[in-house]
Subunit: 221 residues, 2 copies
């Protein structure tokens, strides 16, 4: 038999432990993270743009993306691998300092190319491929990546979510194919809007569409 005081203490203790557990296991749902689904696309240097579309060519904005100053271009190119090609791969602008093709693992089978999961910009040793435009073609020695799933985040939100640039987090997704995705990279910059990027394989695997929401899951997988 326990005394009333003891039972009250135990109740308090249980409450404290539950609070701690809740902190550890709970979802941070204060900030819902909008999901953006990235279909296969390519970033080009101005030099490559001119090889494919002609000297002095400037890319044309088709629509603005959620990340500031980023846009889908009117321009599309043919991308060819050893086993197959995609005839209409969207160019994203503005031009960058490196050429980078972003595909899904499903796409890599069609192209007959190795799939290497990388952070954007980290293209050393990634597969070579051919790009064909209306005025010329170019074989790029490297630059084909499967984008590492990631969350763009401005610094104030990163601070509130208690994550920092380069962190890997787990993200919870709801619905018919609910899931927790691990190894999601946090990318923090004042030039970012809050948005999680998934490729088409990932989006379809969890039935996520543009504008759906995810939340950080503070639970180690």
């Amino acid at each position: 038999m326990q005394s009333n005081t003891q039972m009250q203490l135990n109740d308090k203790l249980i409450h404290c432990i539950c609070e701690e557990a809740a902190k550890k296991f709970n979802i941070i749902n204060k900030y819902k993270i909008p999901i953006g689904v990235s279909n296969r696309h390519i970033h080009l240097t101005q030099e490559t743009v001119e090889k494919l579309f002609g000297k002095g060519y400037k890319l044309h904005i088709k629509s603005m993306l959620k990340q500031p100053n980023q846009f889908a271009c009117e321009e599309q190119v043919i991308v060819r691998g050893p086993k197959g090609e995609f005839p209409r791969v969207r160019v994203l602008g503005p031009t960058r300092s490196i050429n980078q093709l972003e595909i899904s693992i499903t796409d890599s089978f069609k192209l007959g190319m190795k799939s290497i999961i990388r952070e954007s910009g980290s293209i050393a040793g990634t597969p070579s491929f051919e790009v064909i435009g209306p005025k010329g073609s170019v074989t790029l020695p490297e630059g084909c990546i499967v984008a590492l799933r990631h969350i763009h985040m401005p610094p104030d939100i990163a601070e509130e979510m208690r994550v920092k640039n380069g962190d890997m987090v787990d993200v919870k997704i709801f619905g018919e194919r609910k899931a927790i995705l691990g190894n999601v990279l946090i990318r923090v910059s004042p030039s970012f809007n809050l948005e999680m990027h998934l490729d088409v394989d990932e989006a379809n695997a969890v039935c996520a569409k543009n504008g759906d929401f995810a939340v950080l899951q503070k639970l180690l997988l």
Copy 2:
């Protein structure tokens, strides 16, 4: 200030609560579940086989699958939707009482068909499509599903894992794209071998290949 007895009681209480939490949150890793990746495929009735391949035609075994008596056939068919087609869709045998095409959500975009996630056999109201064989073609009024992710399990393993036919579980997958997939259907039958079936979208989203392992995650998502 607490008495020694009280502190011991509290320690014991903390221990009990942690044990309970561990039971709830822990992974059942006693049984590793082999993953089988299902590419798009079709199950046919004998009647449809004869319409596509000729009267009295029998399917030919190409290779046995992990589930007893199930096999990939030498035969392939063209599957056509409103927007596109797949020229070589593998027929699985033996013939069944219903025709059923299983595709990924990625595939559904190429075919231009609605993607409806369903358990195998539950085809009422699913999209119509055309199947073309060497000797004829047939438009099936329904039967195109995106397979609900599921685990085949014999009754003895189901009992040990404390799950039953029809349960929905969460499954943990390890590696570069580690994840916990929710809404995974348990299917129990004496004629099943232990195996989790994922479609290509799901497999690529978590970097799972045939023969990789998953474990049940006893944590509600």
